[in-house]
Symmetry: C2
Subunit: 191 residues, 2 copies
Amino acid sequence: MSLFGLLRQTHIFASTVREILETKLLREVSDAPLTLAQLQLLKLMVRDGEHHLTEVAHFLGVSPPAATKNIDKLVGLGLVHRERSTDDRRATLLSASPEGQRLVEEYERKKELLVRPVAERFRPEELEQLTSLLERFAISLLERETPESGFCARCCGYVDSGCPVNWLLGDCAFQKLRGTAVKEKKGVRPS
Amino acid sequence: MSLFGLLRQTHIFASTVREILETKLLREVSDAPLTLAQLQLLKLMVRDGEHHLTEVAHFLGVSPPAATKNIDKLVGLGLVHRERSTDDRRATLLSASPEGQRLVEEYERKKELLVRPVAERFRPEELEQLTSLLERFAISLLERETPESGFCARCCGYVDSGCPVNWLLGDCAFQKLRGTAVKEKKGVRPS
DNA sequence: GCGAATTATTAACGCGGTTAACCGATGCCC
DNA sequence: GGGCATCGGTTAACCGCGTTAATAATTCGC
């Protein structure tokens, strides 16, 4: 069987989502030119409070200096608050500022506004099919990854404790961050 | 109706495809660290012969100097051949070298090798559904784009003359490149 | 045939990534 | 408790790819 059509639509779908639903939308809600990584950082911090720089670096999959630069920028824009930790005075505590929170909310709002009319052109059962097929395909791809590859979909902001992607990757940075490491559960679907 | 599940899976699918099926695979087939843009360039040139630098810049959606740099790198790696045009001595003629062609073929081969076992976990009608749903969703997103936005999915390498994405975007760089501009046909499905 | 437009490149710079080096704070161990 | 390794974060130097402005060479149009 030929996979050409599937490969083609897979690529086009992924490009379109990234370009229109993520990059372009981000430009619309932010005066300063943020990168997708920076938005994901913001979403992470909006979602759950205070983080250390090392966690942030791991979450983004970049080196600590790169994470520092990203945080520097977000702090400079007033989107993130940074302070020294009191119990470990080496560490920093990072959290989203009210403006940062507003930016993320605005992004989510516009995204839904953009997707809703698209979704309305599908029947409800088609949307469920699509969601389910997307999930199965992504999981099947991810299952073939060794945990060492360190891939993280940065689902941040779309966290759903029942989602297989969450417990599939033993070393999902986001999981570690949230203190809900699932290493021992890898590959075992919770009942 | 809540779109949360759909938005979540959409993001995860797009991230996973880009990361595992594109970025990671590219690293495996190339010694030099190519970017996805450079791979897409190669695919473009493998597909259809000679191009000018301006076309390449438009195709990638970057400025001419940026395109020059990308081409410089590919030429330096021996993946692309560059020569002066004879009929317009300002212009350059760019084409993939045999090594460039081999790289793209190897990439496609490995991609199929990776996706086939994933596809085998779906029933044939499910794969058709997925392909069709991906296409409809992407098209529906793209339809809301003004031609001025200049988005191009760089479907290069997955060109299918019957595909709506091809004729949907009046200013699809790829279309222009191929001399099959569809501006007048925008939104009108060929019978 | 000459000025205007076009094609591609170079120069100077910005931003985000890297590694190496550094600094203050913590913790361990005798 | 003092000494030393380690840890958390930042800085410095560099690289790659993007930008805009300026330049060189060629072609076009009147």
